[in-house]
């Protein structure tokens, strides 16, 4: 119970978001969509962290979330640069079409 919000609500939301993100990452074919789904999964984890942080009355969870957001920013910039380079070479970002490293 955080204030009046039960932790189970927080965890259910977090689990639901993670599940949606997982489904997107596994089922979509566009690399950008897969990337967005990964961002969504990170946010689901953030929500759970903040829920427990508020429950414990501690700030460590918030600090972890801070780091996660910063790392997501770094990851997004590098990932998008990879997609730009990839698109220039192959004219597609469909992950089924990109099989240069497959035998």
């Amino acid at each position: 119970m955080i204030g009046t919000i039960p932790l189970s609500d927080v965890l259910l939301t977090s689990g639901g978001l993670f599940l949606i993100g997982l489904a997107g990452a596994l089922l979509r074919r566009s690399a950008i969509s897969i990337f967005l789904s990964i961002e969504l999964m990170m946010n689901a984890a953030n929500l759970a962290l903040l829920g427990y942080s508020a429950l414990w009355g501690s700030y460590d969870g918030q600090i972890v979330v801070f780091f996660v957001i910063a790392i997501a920013a770094a990851e997004a910039s590098v990932g998008l640069a990879v997609f730009v380079a990839l698109f220039r070479h192959t004219e597609t970002i469909d992950v089924n079409e990109i099989h240069l490293l497959k035998w």
């Binding site: 039960p6 609500d9 997107g24 950008i32 969509s33 961002e39 009355g57």
Partner: protein, 180 residues
């Protein structure tokens, strides 16, 4: 401790439902730009949830960094590359599709079972001894960040610099012009 319905809880549940809904829209939509915009809405309602979980600073950086910077970067790249919507077509890898679907279902079932059976703790006994997180307070966060977590914080700045350089090198056009 019975479930009581309060304004706080209603607000949390409403924004959580909006977040879930727009996350689903993001996954289901085939047009990449619309899918990014749906994710923006989802992240905004998550920011409302963060405020209700007494983390207004995180909510602020969620809006500024996530919705404001990262997703706008996505939009920029999408519009720069002019990526078409995923077209409907025959599935080329049915086995992988099936395995993915089964994996998602198993994961979802595990999640539900865990949440129901493990018994979510409502309150920890140690919670009262620690300083309670007051809403809207950034000072203790900054104290922790610049004392106990100083090394990760500094490492993070190096990581961001490396990402900056890496993104620049990767996205740079080849000097001798590969075709274009």
């Amino acid at each position: 401790m019975e479930d009581s319905v309060t304004v706080e809880r209603l607000l949390f549940d409403a924004s959580a439902i909006v977040a879930l809904l727009f996350a689903a829209v993001m996954v289901l939509h085939r047009h990449p730009v619309k899918s990014v915009l749906a994710l923006v809405v989802s992240f905004f309602s998550l920011a409302i949830c963060y405020v209700l979980l007494t983390a207004p600073f995180i909510a602020a950086i969620q809006v500024i960094v996530y919705a404001g910077a990262i997703l706008v970067l996505f939009l920029f790249v999408l519009m720069l590359l002019n990526i078409p919507a995923e077209e409907h077509r025959r599935d080329t890898r049915p086995i992988q599709r099936f395995l993915s679907g089964a994996g998602i279902l198993v994961f979802g079932a595990m999640l539900v079972a865990l949440l129901r059976d493990a018994g979510v703790p409502e309150r920890f006994t140690g919670a009262a001894e620690q300083a309670p997180a007051k809403a809207g307070e950034v000072l203790p966060l900054a104290r922790l960040l610049f004392s106990e977590y100083l090394l990760p914080f500094e490492a993070l700045s190096v990581l961001l610099l490396a990402a900056l350089v890496g993104a620049f090198v990767l996205a740079r056009r080849e000097p001798r012009g590969a075709g274009s």
